[in-house]
Point group: C2
Chain length 241, copies 2
């Protein structure tokens, strides 16, 4: 079995939440979101954990770990300006690209606090075989595609966007952890950045490598806005696993 690494990417500086504190540090049940994600991988227990943080928050995170008596072994790596830079920094911290280290690496969003342990293991097992695996879930809403370009930040402008219905069963939502052969992902992150890189799978795919999908989990929510924070609180209260 190849050596397994986990890169928890928490490099965001938090703008979308309308709050100064980046969302990975926001509390649910008085404990930082990122610490829940760290708990999940620690409880799974199958690999070495590296957390990528904004440079400005490294000391804050260390303080949080003391404050919450979190003694889970992990390394901390400084992120970059974009998510792409952050993942690349994390990968370089594992080993020099091209050094030929045989391994598997999971890239996980630091704002997904409830990833089930069986899902982590399933992604690694599949990646051992296929090289690039991402968890996906079906969509429950109808979806529309913009005719050209995309949807504007300013929602008042939605009215003027030409769009059309698309068949929802052709699409799935992508989650993390996304697991890859280490040398494959390092090579992929050697490419110049493109706007089409929306997640790690898309970076690997841009090299022409086929990405496999696996069934994800509804519990594996991503905390994006205040609504999600309330969902997360409810998840903990009901613990409907």
């Amino acid at each position: 079995m190849k050596k397994r690494y986990v890169l928890i990417v928490a490099g965001g500086k938090g703008l979308r939440m309308g709050n100064e504190l980046p969302k990975q540090f926001m509390p649910i049940r008085k404990r930082p979101i990122l610490m829940f994600a760290l708990d999940c991988f620690h409880e799974w227990g199958g690999g070495e954990i590296i957390i990528v943080l904004p440079k400005e928050y490294v000391n804050y995170w260390k303080w949080l770990c003391r404050r919450y008596s979190c003694a889970i072994p992990h390394r901390v790596v400084e992120g970059g300006e974009t998510r792409f830079d952050s993942v690349r920094n994390g990968l370089t911290a594992i080993s020099k690209p091209g050094a030929g280290l045989q391994g598997l690496v999971a890239v996980h969003d630091g704002v997904r606090p409830f990833v089930p342990k069986p899902l982590i293991e399933a992604c690694f097992i599949a990646a051992e075989h296929y090289g690039a695996v991402v968890p996906v879930i079906p969509m429950s809403d109808s979806i529309r595609e913009a005719e050209s370009g995309g949807w504007p930040e300013n929602r008042v402008d939605y009215m003027y966007i030409k769009s059309h219905a698309v068949r929802r069963h052709r699409y799935v939502s992508v989650q993390t952890p996304q697991v890859f052969k280490l040398d494959l992902l390092q090579e992929a992150y050697g490419q110049p950045y493109s706007q089409d890189f929306t997640d790690d799978a898309s970076v690997v795919e841009a090299m022409g490598f086929e990405v496999r999908t696996i069934a994800g989990s509804r519990d594996n929510i991503k905390i994006t806005d205040p609504f999600d924070l309330h969902v997360a609180e409810a998840w903990l209260t009901n613990s409907w696993l």
Copy 2:
């Protein structure tokens, strides 16, 4: 101003939830989901309400209304085999297609219990002007599209579906109420059924009529599975409007 109608579509017989009771009748805070949706349109107060129900559940619904002392005026119409049939039955109950009745009609999912009143009004105002309006919200996850066909029901088979990343900012999730000029929607529902009809907007669009979009609301959740039921409970507890 045109006369306004609201069609709350609750014709589902409930298979996806793994429960005998169709999801529109399931309780959140001990009150049926559908009754919350009815409350929203009653509180908005701008139009005549028609609820489309499975034939087998019409008496059950009447019993629920007595049981929960719900005296909100509304008509009940029997649905059909599919959602398409149900909406068409509801439209026919408003007026005979082709009769030339001038009006606007909102079609709303009976499993969206928290639609904000300002959103209902905004959709009607925009539809008065544009004829066909749907609320949409941005997507927070990356998405992947199947190369051909769609994603199978059996999630074990996900592994064998060829897919590729698509740019998430090109897509939005579609909500309800979807509001249309009555004669336009009646004409659209005169078309033969197609698999591409994923919502009412897609039916209107298939006639070549342009559908406009408006910013929806994160609060306007759709109850699709047990996870959503817990989210709904949490929404009520926190009432984070």
